[in-house]
Amino acid sequence: MGRCGIRCGAPAQEMRSMTDEDIFILRLKLLIVMAKAYLNGYPLGERRKAAVSENARMVFYQALHHANRCDAIPTDTAERTDDAYTHLFYQRIQLLAVMARSFAAGNRLEGYRRRALEDNIGHICDRLAESPELADMPILKVA
């Protein structure tokens, strides 16, 4: 009858306190899962809507904070730097947060809006996949 404990989380040699950055990436991935679940028609109960809205709010402000630390996009579009790319990435994250708050509030995202949400998730996931320090791709396939 005795229970056997199991272990999960970071391997022993990689254990450390969680940073603001860790939480931001986790929240972003959670927001992607929430959005994919919405697109796939999973039910949204009242508490779930509240969870989506709260997570979107947190992600939005953290992305805003990160975006403010990046250089602005160059006016010459032919000269897109990594910073500009990163800046756009944070804009996309903010857009995802706005979209998530919208569907959590009961607004239906159909037609072009739905496609815009799908495209935005696609771009963010591509960027996460390109950045090994951000990527943890199996979780992006959860929903």
Partner: protein, 133 residues
């Protein structure tokens, strides 16, 4: 059928670290579509349980100010052996002690989102005990 199980589950998070605590609460609230109980100290969790409330699963930060998470694990294992206990720590040296004290899961920080979904799947969705209101 799954919705019925999730409707009845009660999850608590005992952690004084705001960012981690709020994130776990967010994931749990989304996963089970219920309010999640939040306590910043082991003593507050104790008081809640002593008043007769039922909790199905508790996330416990092992290094809490005041009464430690280890003490809480030891106490809960004795008084509420049916509650599933998830021990959180950033120190690998805590693992054996936590499991010995009755933790069902030792969750090493930093965790990934999938770890939390796995815990819900294992201890809530697939567990018939969670159906008891």
């Amino acid at each position: 059928m799954r919705i019925a199980i999730i409707d009845n589950v009660q999850i608590a998070v005992v952690d004084h670290e705001r960012l981690t605590r709020e994130f776990i609460v967010n994931v749990m609230m989304y996963s089970v579509n219920r309010d999640i109980l939040v306590f910043e100290s082991a003593a507050a969790m104790d008081v809640y349980l002593k008043s007769g409330h039922r909790v199905h699963l508790i996330f416990v930060q092992l290094h809490l100010p005041g009464k430690s998470g280890f003490e809480l694990l030891r106490h809960l294992k004795r008084t509420h052996p049916d509650i599933y206990l998830i021990a959180l720590s950033a120190n690998p040296a805590d693992e054996i002690a936590a499991i010995d004290l009755g933790a069902d899961v030792f969750l090493g920080l930093p965790f990934v989102l999938q770890d939390l979904f796995d815990i819900v799947q294992r201890f809530v969705v697939e567990n018939p005990k969670a159906q008891v209101a």
